[in-house]
Every structure is written in C-alpha cells, then in structure tokens.
Symmetry: C2
Subunit: 194 residues, 2 copies
C-alpha cells in the first residue's frame, strides 16, 4: 500500500517520527473503487473519512423532486465524508460516489479516536483541516447568498482548477445550483464573450 | 471578569485543572459592546475569535448592490469570527456587528497559538468546535441549494430557537436569502395556515 500522498498531506501541518507514521498507517485501509461506484448512500451510517489518492469523488444530496445537489468534489489529496452522520452517528444525509476510477484511503472514526489517544498532535492536524474546510464552506455560502450563477462558476473554477476540463457539465451545474440547461447556455455565453 | 460561560463551553469537550484554567483566562479579554456597534469591518484584519457571553452578534457581507447577507448569528455561548481573515491574515470579507448590547470575550489568534503550545489539549477543543461548525455550515449549504425559502425558515427556527421572537425580520430575511418584503408575505402566510 502506498501512503505517500496522505503522509505529505499530514506533514504539511505536523511532524511525525517513523514510529508514529507506522502507527498511523496501521489504522488506514486502502480501497480501489470503480467509476460511478456508490461509497456511501443516504440513510447509511457513515463510519469513515475518505482521503482521495487518485481519481475523484463527489458528495451530493437528492431533493424531494429528485434533483441532485453537489456539496463537494474531492480530487486527489482532498478529504471527504458525511460529517453530519460521522459525528452524530445518525443516518447519512449525503451520498458519496466516485466520478472516475479512484483509489481512496478509509480512516474510520473509531481509529481516529485511537490515533488521538496515542498521538495527540493529530488533534492539531484535524483541527487545521476542519478550519480550512470551514473557511471554504463559509465562502461558498456567501457566494450562494450574494453572487450570480456566472460569478459562482468563476469561483468554482478558482477552487477546483484541476477539475474544470475533466468534469461533466451536469456536475458543475449541480454544484453551482443551476439546471444543466441553464449552465450550458451560460457557458456558451461566457465562451463567446471571452 | 466572569468567565464561567466560556469555562462551561470548554468543559463540554476537555477537562482542565485550576492552573490550566488560570493560564487560559490570562489570554482572554472581556469587552462590552453597545447595540449596533461594529466590532469588525470588511477590509480590517481580523485578529480575534469572539465568544458571546450576553447579547447577540451577527456576521454579514454586503454585496455590490448594497444588500446585506447574513452568514451567522451568535447568541450567548456561540463563537463568531471572520475565519478567512483570521487564518489567512488577509483583509476581512465579513462585517461583525452587535444586534443588541452585548458582553463578549476576545481571544486573539496569537494567544490561541500560545495556548496550544502550553496546553495542547485545547487543539482537541477547537477541533471539535470547528467540526461542529463545519457540519452546520454543510447543512445550511444543502438547505440553500435544495430547499424553498419556507423550508429554510423552518430550519432557521430549529437552529436558533432563542432568536425567533427577538430578532428583526430583516435579519432573518438576510439569513435565509430573501428580501424583507418577500419574507414578510411568507411569514403572514405561514401564520395564517398554522
């Protein structure tokens, strides 16, 4: 199993010795998932955080009219989960699916607590990860409250530069909160004007 | 200075001895603010997190058309800040204002780092606070993407039960993302039907 990308992710914020790294690796589980594979479904109980090594995942909800709304994309080196379910131990409100063939690392909440007990400085790592994620969610909330769809698309492109070309338009539309038809017209207009 | 409410907030997640409590208190600053006082303005550099002891604060942005959009309310025992500015040391994108006469505790980022160095278990406390806040922001994002204004108002009432009656309608409208006129009509309709 290759943990080099998750090790680099951790090393950005805390320094570990070899013994600590080995202990951490012992708590992780590697998994290959096929394109369009559901990793977590609404109503399940979420027990893991997922770290993306290769590929891309998305988390989304389905509203009462059957429309999908994308909360997050997770390209390589991003974490993704249904945090509501993970922390509350209540059923998931989100679905998590692989957009392409992906390699992911599963890190269970149970093992996370073991890690905190054994190597408390991981509290610092996950504090920083949570704070960074919080900032980005706050900015997106403000975007949704105050920006036009076109401006939200611009911010999407800044946030996920690696995804713009590879991603189906319907996914970007479901992220910025417009219909695929509206998105397609808007994008044509932007391309014409640029 | 009375720190009992912030001590109770901390004690929910970590246990401290008297020496640790005293060290923590030494890093805090108490402040009284009048109704409608601006505590932080867009363009400032945010250096503090604010814990509300009494009263209520709100964080909001002003869009290019002059409309206010409320990101968060902070009634007693809630934390509030411009996290983007606090973590990045870039200028604020938010304004923070007291809705009523309030007592708040200022906790600077600089003192927070001192606290982490001296009492590392505070990493755990702020990790949990950040994670809880993240869950609530994720849920609000999903609400904004998938729910009607009426459903968002219902969720607002569940999230801030203590605020419903005391808060000016224009603030609730700016939180759920509708104009005050639309909100007023919607609320009359809800009251008629209930």
């Amino acid at each position: 199993m290759n943990f080099s990308s998750i090790d680099q992710n951790v090393a950005k914020h805390i320094a570990l010795n070899q013994e600590e790294i080995d202990f951490f690796h012992g708590l992780l589980q590697h998994k290959k998932v096929k394109r369009k594979q559901m990793i977590l479904q609404e109503g399940d109980f979420c027990k893991d955080s997922f770290f993306v090594v290769e590929g891309c995942l998305r988390s989304f909800s389905i509203d009462k009219n059957g429309f999908e709304h994308i909360l997050n994309f997770a390209p390589p080196n991003w974490w993704i989960s249904d945090l509501y379910s993970l922390f509350s131990q209540k059923p998931c409100i989100l679905n998590i699916e692989s957009i392409e063939n992906s390699q992911i690392i599963l890190f269970s909440r149970e093992n996370q607590e073991k890690l905190f007990a054994e190597i408390p400085k991981f509290e610092r790592f996950f504090r920083i990860i949570a704070e960074k994620s919080l900032v980005s969610h706050q900015q997106r909330l403000l975007d949704n409250l105050s920006l036009t769809a076109e401006e939200r698309y611009e911010n999407f492109c800044k946030r996920y530069p690696s995804l713009i070309d590879g991603l189906a338009q319907k996914y970007i539309a479901a992220y910025i909160g417009v219909t695929p038809e509206f998105f397609s017209k808007m994008r044509s207009k932007i391309l014409r004007n640029s």
